[in-house]
């Protein structure tokens, strides 16, 4: 075997790793169409679990909450994250990158519990607003990474030219920089929405007793009993987030390496 040849063992190991990554997800999807309460063996095809989902008022309320939080958190964190990305690219500050990346780097549970103490000590009612505020805090970093990567690949002299031609800094940003980094901004927004709608740990600590999002509902469902209704909602959620991420990756190819 030459140094350039790829060993069949390498292929076998890599295929096994891909199977390990995908077989569990495929099983969840397949059993969502299974005509049996037990997620154990294939009985027959049905759409019953999806019909049940559409009539489950708890599920619809949770989906509504997740959507509301996701949209709010992604809009605000996209604005703040874009600002952070631009600031880090242009001014090379010291403190900002630490605050931007730390929430991504530390275990999620730490942010969850510290925000819980924070909100409770301030007598801030736990609910939709506290969850959205928490989500914004961890989404800013992801948006900032994507926007900064986009800026790094951009020709800064275009903005300089606009300034030399008499554009105010605000106008130079609005008419030159922003359109050029827009794919990165949109990719960041989609990413933030996905992260928000998928978040379990930080939501778990900041939601309080009365507020339920989709991941929180899935958690309580699988803690009590496993039914294929969970598979059905999981399949739909996976479809949504994977679609968004593929679009985001198309808009901003560096997304693949920044994670």
């Amino acid at each position: 075997m030459t140094a350039r040849g790829r060993s069949p063992w390498l292929w076998a190991a890599a295929i096994a790793a891909y199977a390990f990554l995908y077989v569990p997800l495929v099983i969840v999807v397949v059993y969502s169409f299974n005509d049996s309460r037990l997620n154990a063996e294939w009985v027959g095809f049905t759409l019953d679990w999806y019909r049940r989902l559409a009539n489950d008022s708890d599920m619809l309320a949770a989906a509504g909450n997740s959507l509301l939080i996701g949209i709010t958190a992604s809009l605000v964190s996209t604005v703040l994250g874009t600002m952070a990305g631009v600031a880090m690219h242009r001014y090379r500050p010291r403190l900002l990158p630490i605050l931007v990346f730390a929430p991504i780097a530390i275990p999620e549970i730490l942010m969850g519990v510290s925000l819980l103490i924070f909100f409770v000590l301030l007598n801030f009612t736990l609910g939709l607003v506290s969850v959205a505020l928490a989500h914004i805090a961890f989404c800013i970093g992801f948006v900032a990474i994507v926007v900064r990567a986009r800026l790094a690949g951009m020709d800064e002299s275009l903005t300089e030219a606009a300034r030399d031609c008499g554009a105010s800094p605000a106008n130079a940003f609005r008419y030159v920089t922003l359109p050029l980094i827009m794919p990165g901004v949109i990719a960041g927004a989609l990413m933030a929405f996905t992260l928000s709608i998928d978040d379990f740990v930080i939501t778990f600590f900041t939601a309080g007793a009365g507020t339920v999002t989709l991941p929180l509902l899935i958690y309580s469902m699988i803690k009590i009993s496993v039914t294929p209704e969970v598979n059905a909602v999981s399949t739909l959620l996976m479809l949504l987030t994977l679609l968004l991420i593929v679009i985001a990756a198309k808009l901003s190819p560096t997304l693949l390496r920044s994670e």
Binding site: A3, A17, Y18, P24, N39, L80, S114, V230
Partner: protein
Amino acid sequence: MKPTAKTGRAAPAGRWLVMGPPLLYLVVFFALPALIMVVASFRSPGEFGGLAPLSDETGKLDLNVESYARFFTESVYLQVFVKSAWYATLTTLFCLLLAYPLATLIAQSPKKYRDLLLLLVILPFWSNFLIRVYAWMIILGPNAALARMVNAALGSVGLAPVSLLFSAFAVLTCLVYVHLPFMVLPLYANLEKHDRALLDAAQDLGANAWNRFWRITFPLSLPGVFAGAALVFIPALGIFAIPDILGGPDDTMIGNLIKTQFLETRDWPFGSVLSIVLTVAALVLAGLAAWVARRGARGGVGA
């Protein structure tokens, strides 16, 4: 970058206009809560949970190190930390074993396929975390094919049936599953940059496949290995949902301990101590990994 630096100096007002809002937001909703948690770790637990008043009637501050003392003297908590570190170590090792061939294959693939192969590694990471945990509940469930096969095999040699679910096996399998992409990406980023000429030269000098790997590829890949190890070990150390859902009573990790302190026993000072110990452990390990990776990079290139 010269012209940008010039813009930065020329418009200090613009600088704060751009940097101010995100900075302010993260100070309020990240740094401040973290600071409050540090203070909380020195306060006394409240009579009905939460925190006792910060100062008594005379205005004397009630700050103490009792919660820290409790952590370091009651061995049960240190044991949970050691167990968590052990699970995180095993997770890191298994991730490395699975990720190395995968990253090697992607790095050796033709350029046009690499992005697709990488995307396939990352996509599962973007599906909901709980769904990925739930998938293992199905696979390892008592009625599923895997458990029936294992128990039939055990039964044929006269052993009692085992439960795959709610076990250390389930916790570790899912920990590896969830963190695998974090190991593949930095490894790939490193392996992709290797110069094939080194391997060809080694082969010309008579090194066999194993020697080429062990004496050239692996030492050169150490920075990627350590970066991946940090990205896997740190989140794995702090996880709570996986042992919570898939583990048995013996699989308690730090994350579960923290959750219990905040949501069940409601002893916030002690919960804060556990969180701070976890943070310090994570920071020290991240720093160590960065340091070793830098050293490894130098040593590897020099060797």
